[in-house]
């Protein structure tokens, strides 16, 4: 094994970590604001992939351009799910919304199957197969794109949360919904908006997954589990933590794959995950309850 292979593994893993962060961001937002483990998030990613696939087939639109249509659609869809299905359950304990989300996930998988069949799909453009040679390492263009998008997206979300009224309202509702209500904030609207945001981000994540890899109706589970690891590793609800954890997990898997082989990528990722949790149970960027 050459040093180039090692460096290439580390760099491409780090870049792929951007996609991990994008896919986990929606989960992180929903958990951070509502304390809801959104187990249907994987299906939101896959829904976006299928919608983009369909748009491409019908109108021949580039998958990234399609996002101009898809992101608002997914936002509205997520907003409606929270408003009509999950909001009425938010004060009925942790189990009711969690189980409902689980039910939605099963329904979604079956609907995907019904509408798009079980065939493996992928989004291909002229640039999805491109790679850039940088210092002797071939960097996949999509990985680079995902890395950049992840940084920009996390920064935008961070700014939104810090600088806008709605962002502050989201943080207030997350801290104490009852007090926020007294201050004139409507927590149910905030929750619906948050879920909408998570779904809009899933539009981006699902599209990038489909452009980089392939997908089937059940692909969501893989990315949901990966998302959980990133969210817990980064610290529950921490936006920057999600980015950092995505990069760390990606780099660890990339390096692990380069050293031990492809079969051990995830093993190395999970070992890092366990080590971090033992040393910092609240995650890399999470605030300790103690």
């Amino acid at each position: 094994m050459s040093s180039t292979t090692l460096i290439a593994g580390l760099v491409t893993g780090l870049l792929l970590g951007g996609l991990f962060a994008i896919c986990a961001l929606g989960l992180s937002l929903v958990f951070g604001i509502m304390r809801l483990v959104n187990v249907v998030h994987g299906e939101l990613l896959v829904l976006a992939a299928y919608l983009n696939f369909t748009l491409g087939r019908w109108a021949g639109i580039d998958p990234l351009l399609s996002l101009l249509i898809l992101v608002p659609i997914m936002f509205g869809f997520g907003f409606l799910i929270q408003k009509t299905i999950l909001n009425p359950l938010m004060n009925k304990g942790d189990e009711a919304p969690l189980l409902t989300a689980f039910g939605l996930s099963i329904i979604a998988q079956n609907l995907f199957l019904l509408i798009w069949k079980a065939d493996t799909r992928s989004l291909n453009t002229e640039y999805t197969g491109l790679g850039l040679p940088v210092a002797g390492i071939q960097i996949p263009l999509m990985y680079l794109l995902e890395f950049v998008i992840a940084i920009v997206l996390i920064l935008l979300v961070h700014l939104f949360m810090r600088k806008t009224f709605l962002g502050k309202a989201m943080r207030a509702a997350a801290l104490d919904a009852d007090t926020a209500r007294v201050m004139g904030i409507n927590p149910k609207f905030v929750y619906a908006f948050t879920y909408g945001m998570g779904s809009a981000v899933a539009a981006l994540g699902g599209t990038l997954i489909a452009m980089t890899f392939s997908f089937v109706p059940t692909t969501g589970l893989v990315w949901l589990l990966n998302g959980f690891v990133v969210v817990v590793l980064g610290g529950l609800g921490s936006v920057f933590g999600t980015l950092g954890a995505g990069f760390l997990l990606g780099a660890a898997e990339g390096l692990g794959g380069a050293i031990f082989g492809t079969g051990y990528r995830e093993l190395v990722g999970y070992i890092i995950f366990l080590i971090v949790l033992i040393m910092r149970p609240s995650g890399l960027f999470g605030r300790s309850n103690g």
Partner: protein, 404 residues
């Protein structure tokens, strides 16, 4: 005393009734000569999940064979023709689900015979249940060595598919006609057939004067293959041989393109076989090769292909043939047995010696409880698979080499 006598009479009458009832129940449907209302057969197949591509062909193959029998009035059992009821359950591409589905077919649905799922992990999961319960089970889509790796003493299970021992040699035979540096990168997943075929390729490569310069083994569902692609590149492999499922092999091929790794020849077994492989990758899949065991050369084969494509609107796959034939072999055996008794059906299956659309089926010629399908090499050309190498018969196109 009188009361005691009456009770004795009542108990005796009850016992008689129970005995008669039991005898009647014993005769209803399972004995030779008396006909059940319907013959229930079933299968657990991957309609969803990573192996769903196989499931769609399998469903059509099984349903078509059963429909043909029912259109002809059913199967003669005793003095009348009995319709066949086919029950299909989705195993979600998960072996544990295949196990519970087959258990359900046996215990709840009272299936008298069973058909297989797709790929060794799923097929073997169901086959073990059938074997334990002594219910006849015929399957395709399970390479013979992997099928026999689970056990060699099958009594109630039969397999119709290719033998990896022969199939794994075909790429080397094809390569012998081409100009390469004889360096091979081997990518195999950790499913039973991946492990088995990985071993065989490693064994055969030196015999054909090829060198396996890199061999990666990895779990199904891996997303990033960058490191193994780079190692294959570094090792200078001009040939790639892989055994992977369709979603994984699509990701692999995309990443090979991205990382600028273009071997001169690629054999992507299993995953590159369904048409969705080409649909997902488009022109970049041009020239990829995958072993085949059926091509619609014959008139009957052409008709089967046309029927599938007309009914489903999809391009055919060779899996329509082996699953259709597996069902035909089972149904023919039930008809020959004239009975729904497991022992009778099993005996009839074992004695199968007949020409089917996929070739001659005989379970006594080669390895026990298997009927081998001879293999050739297919290549993706303009969205269709063409036979480019065939030791046993004709080819349909010249080979594209090197990969465009």
């Amino acid at each position: 005393m009188v009361r005691k006598g009456r009770w004795k009479k009542r108990v005796l009458m009850m016992l008689c009734l129970i005995l008669v009832g039991g005898m009647l129940a014993g005769c209803s449907g399972f004995g030779q000569g008396s006909a059940p209302k319907e013959i229930v057969i079933g299968a657990s197949i991957p309609m969803t999940g990573a192996l769903s591509a196989f499931g769609s062909y399998e469903k059509w193959g099984y349903e078509t064979a059963v429909k043909e029998v029912n259109d002809a009035g059913g199967i003669q059992i005793g003095n009348r023709k009995v319709p066949v009821k086919l029950i299909l359950y989705d195993d979600e591409s998960r072996p544990e689900k295949a196990t519970s589905n087959v258990q359900r077919l046996v215990t709840r649905d009272k299936a008298v015979a069973l058909l297989g799922s797709a790929t060794p992990p799923l097929v073997l999961a169901g086959a073990e249940v059938a074997e334990r319960n002594k219910v006849p089970f015929v399957t395709g889509i399970a390479p013979i060595r992997a099928f026999l790796s689970a056990r060699t003493d099958w009594q109630y299970v039969w397999d119709i598919f290719f033998d990896e021992l022969n199939m794994t040699q075909v790429p080397f035979k094809v390569l012998d006609q081409l100009d390469t540096n004889r360096k091979v990168a081997l990518f195999t997943d950790n499913e039973a057939d991946g492990v088995q075929m990985g071993k065989l390729w490693n064994e055969f490569a030196p015999q054909y004067n090829y060198e396996i310069v890199y061999h990666a083994s990895f779990p199904v569902g891996t997303t990033d293959y960058g490191d193994m692609i780079r190692r294959a590149q570094e090792a200078g492999a001009e040939i790639v041989i892989a055994q992977m499922i369709t979603p994984d092999v699509i990701s692999l091929w995309k990443q090979m393109e991205t990382l600028g790794y273009k071997p001169k020849a690629a054999f992507l077994e299993k995953g590159a076989e369904p048409v969705e492989f080409y649909e997902a990758l488009g022109k970049s899949a041009e020239g990829v090769m995958v072993s085949g065991y059926w091509y619609p050369f014959s008139e009957e084969g052409k008709q089967l292909r046309e029927r599938f494509e007309k009914e489903t609107g999809n391009t055919y796959s060779q899996h329509i043939a082996d699953t259709y034939v597996a069902a035909k072999v089972l149904l023919d055996a039930i008809a020959r047995a004239g009975s729904t008794k497991a022992e009778d059906i099993a005996k009839a299956i074992d004695e199968t010696d007949k020409e089917y659309v996929i070739g001659h089926i005989n379970f006594k010629k080669g390895e026990p409880h298997t009927s081998e399908l001879p293999t050739f090499m297919l290549q993706w050309q303009n969205g269709d698979t063409q036979v480019v190498f065939n030791e046993h018969g004709e080819t349909t196109a010249d080979i594209i080499f090197p990969l465009p």
